[in-house]
Symmetry: C2
Subunit: 188 residues, 2 copies
């Protein structure tokens, strides 16, 4: 891994652990094993480096989600697989956490990849649900778009509740709760 990559990986880890406001260039350099000159040679500053890091994290997140969505099983099984997939719940969502950061939200360049990731996720979930409805697995009265929004929100909210509790339990309860409501939409 070259210096540029090490700097990006260091930034990704720190953005996840400390957020954008809580991450200093110095900490990025130390974790990457690079000097200041090195960092300012490859990137114009903290925002530039953060953008590269966020883009890479977003790309990785989409790829991992698509594994579940494109997998086998009914629509409900694929949504369940996605929500119940092993996650570092207590660390929070590496993308969702950025939405709480004031400096990320204030900078359109930094906010865009976050927004796009959630747009994609919601759209992809809606497709899976719509497919399940067409196949007759889910009630014809189910609203795929609205339900997809709710599912993404439960996921993000589950992370928030878990961090607040210092335990993964609230995440599991919330996911089971929404899966229970979804199961009631399954045709017998």
């Amino acid at each position: 891994m070259n210096t540029s990559d090490r700097l990006i990986e260091s930034t990704r880890a720190l953005l996840w652990e400390r957020g954008y406001v809580g991450t200093s260039p110095k900490a990025i350099q130390q974790r990457a094993g690079a000097g200041q000159g090195s960092m300012y040679h490859h990137f114009t500053g903290k925002p530039d480096l953060a953008l590269a890091a966020i883009r890479r994290t977003a790309e990785e997140m989409r790829a991992k989600a698509e594994e579940q969505f494109a997998g086998p099983g009914t629509a409900l099984e694929r949504v369940s697989a996605y929500l119940l997939r092993e996650r570092d719940v207590l660390k929070g969502c590496p993308i969702g956490g950025l939405a709480q950061d004031p400096d990320v939200v204030a900078d359109p360049a930094l906010r865009r990849p976050v927004e796009e990731t959630f747009d994609w996720l919601r759209g992809r979930l809606a497709e899976v649900l719509a497919e399940g409805r067409e196949r007759g697995e889910l009630s014809a009265s189910l609203d795929p778009a609205g339900t997809a929004s709710a599912v993404v929100a439960v996921l993000q909210g589950g992370y928030v509740l878990a961090r607040a509790a210092g335990s993964a339990e609230p995440y599991d309860r919330a996911v089971k709760g929404v899966l229970g409501l979804l199961a009631a939409q399954a045709t017998l």
Copy 2:
């Protein structure tokens, strides 16, 4: 309002806008119109002041939620009223946002009021849903505890998605989505 109160109110506003990591004692003092000596006379430091601010915000939040829960109407109407109540969606949840802050989560004293607020909220929502089920408004197969967890998560996740999008729309969509799933649990 005395100096102590002004300092607490200043801290409350800054914690909401900038988070704990992003809030400096200097900013707190300037907003409160107080000097450093004043702040360190009334509070031992930033954590002490933050604790007072978080407690006050949590108390206010519970009181506002209870207004909807204790209001008139069916269980579903009261949950709807709570979720659809006017909110500063783009500013995020003043309590939920703290759960993303690394220094809040790392300090048990600061995390506790956040955790307690969500515990209370989940418990209170479960009571409302259980009451609706007993009255025959909601399906006997509905799980009040799990559903309450999911509803709180949708609320918190809705805030996250709205901030990511720079628009309140994702919040509204997520809330409508979960209310749609809940409506399907209503007895005819």
